[in-house]
């Protein structure tokens, strides 16, 4: 089992004719993802490696029965693309785009949350259920089917962690990059709940970083409800306050969002926090 996406996901690529959209469509297809349609307004009717392109998400839903969407659309138009997908009835939307204005995301979050739509991202690598489907930009080969769930605010740091897990012989049920922006569609908790219900998942790796309080909230949830082992890593212990560390959401401001506070909260909740970047794979292996 896996959560949110699997081999039956029929994926739509919004912005399929852009450079990134085209490149990652090919990557997803080689991984085995069923990319059923693409959307670029004005390019409707063309085909890209045999994948039909439509002008509107509605047409892709009506004609190809897509049920998951991945968005490669520049920041000024990305929120609109999310809303188009959500309005067209797509229930799982992955937004890769980095650089969406925060107030656009205030609007999007209000809209999708009140309608029960799952938005992964923005500013994220996407989601992969190894061996089944990849709806994202992560390198496929480092993944391996298995029983570890991974949730992360980061991109390459997640690849690093997944790679360690795979090398340690630990496969993954589903790996989700929830995104590095201040406002993202789903939180650690949203996916922890899903892993909680997912029988295949035996343990979860949670990769956090400075900024916000998502890790503290996750710690609270895990302590009160989550009954599988959780391993956490928090990036940014040496980050100075008041500086945005690459991710729009990775900033310590007003004394909030420090790595040490997050680590303390996680440890208080009984969660094993890995301090040494190189040792995650081995630590998880030894512990479960």
């Amino acid at each position: 089992m896996s959560i949110l996406v699997n081999e039956e996901s029929r994926v739509l690529v919004q912005g399929i004719t852009g450079n990134e959209g085209t490149f990652h469509t090919q990557q997803m297809v080689s991984y085995g993802t069923v990319v059923a349609a693409g959307v670029t307004p004005g390019k409707g009717g063309m085909k890209l490696d045999g994948i039909p392109v439509f002008n509107r998400v509605k047409d892709a839903v009506d004609n190809e029965g897509v049920n998951v969407s991945i968005i490669f659309v520049p920041p000024p138009f990305a929120a609109d693309s999310i809303l188009e997908a959500a309005s067209a009835g797509i229930g799982v939307i992955v937004c890769i785009t980095e650089g969406i204005p925060t107030l656009d995301m205030v609007r999007v979050a209000s809209f999708i949350r009140s309608r029960g739509i799952v938005l992964i991202g923005p500013n994220c690598p996407g989601i992969i259920s190894p061996g089944k489907t990849k709806v994202g930009i992560m390198p496929g080969p480092i993944h391996k089917p298995g029983t570890i769930g991974v949730i992360s605010r980061s991109g390459t740091l997640t690849y690093e962690m997944v790679d360690q897990l795979t090398r340690a012989g630990l496969g993954q049920s589903t790996c989700i990059g929830i995104g590095g922006d201040p406002i993202i569609g789903t939180s650690f908790i949203d996916h922890l709940r899903r892993f909680h219900r997912d029988d295949t998942t035996e343990a979860v790796v949670l990769i956090g970083e400075i900024g916000g309080s998502a890790e503290e909230e996750a710690a609270e949830y895990i302590e009160s409800e989550f009954n599988k082992p959780v391993f956490a890593f928090i990036a940014g212990q040496t980050a100075p306050p008041g500086k945005r560390m690459g991710h729009a959401g990775a900033i310590i401001s007003g004394g909030q969002g420090k790595a040490e506070d997050k680590i303390a909260a996680l440890e208080r909740a009984g969660i094993r926090v890995i301090k040494n970047l190189g040792s995650l794979g081995e630590t998880v292996k030894e512990s479960i």
């Binding site: 205030v106 605010r153 040496t238 560390m245 690459g246 190189g278």
Partner: protein, 391 residues
Amino acid sequence: MKLHEYQAKEIFRRYHIRVPAGEVAGSVDKVIESARNINGPPWVVKAQVHAGGRGKAGGVRIADSLEQLKQAAKEILGRPLISEQTGPEGKRVTKLLIEEAVEIERELYLAMTIDRSKAEPVIIFSQVGGMDIEEVARVSPEQLMNEHIPFDMGWSPFVAKKLAYGLDPLPGPNTLKELTNIISRLYTVFMELDCSLAEINPLVTTKKGDVIALDAKINIDDNALFRRKAMADLDDPLEKEHLEREAAKYHLNYIKLDGNIGAMVNGAGLAMATMDLIKMAGAEPANFLDVGGGASEEMVTKGLEIILMDEKVKAIFINIFGGILRCDVLARGVLAAAEKTHIKVPVIVRLEGTNVEDGRKILEESDLKFMVAKDMNEAADLVTRAVSITV
């Protein structure tokens, strides 16, 4: 992006949020000239640098005469202001704000920001103004009022009333009306300019019933600058460290730190984790540098050049997990940089991911000496070793 106080006050004026009469000056002469246009003495002089704790650091003075004003301006202008937030080297003051003094009755606090967990804007109001709001939150959290503005509610005047009528004792009707107006206008500023923070601390009331923004702080959401050109134009490049300024030209995510191990990484999370690893290995990171998930050969070259400009750097750690950025591209970028600049410090390279074999091969076949690490643990060892050699 942070605005200066005087820029934020200019915006407030436009939105009819009252601020003290004032002018900006870049020289002592101009300070004196400005003072003649402004009601006084006394006057208030304020250093225009992005730094909290200006007052304690001597960046805010009250002058009771032109003499005192001149003296104050001389002492502040052109010198570094060293506050708890600037670091030991401080920030050079090039602009002063001269303002009329305001007779204060009460000092309040008003701010608007984004509540990340709720994904909603939130207005924060307190009857304890003029001091650090984090301090208030810690010491007397009951003095803080929060009102969220859900997107599907939008601005509703009751929110301003709810906050204003939370004051104890309640001010007079005029002051209450002014307060609710200012709260509503601050909301407009925030939404119309894509702010990430808009803060007035203190917001003061006077005996006459006026409500005045004595200080002003506005941060603009960097992601929204493409649609807020007027705000982007207010950016003061002098506020950035010179290497950061250089990096910004190439759209590199670079932050200067105080250590001696330079780091070049792809991806923000991995870059932070790499800094942490350097620290755990017994060294200090010299910088944060994320060349981006999809960096080009040129960006890698530029990134390396900028690290090398930092004279404190005694070793460089290149940590790449190739996803979108292919390891062969990275390797070529490193070689290009090495050819242009003269790398005299040890370089530790750790490559993983897409086309890793090609990348390693390119590096190994070059004339340059790299220490290549196979995994993070090996990289950590090499960093530790580099530190023990260089320090």
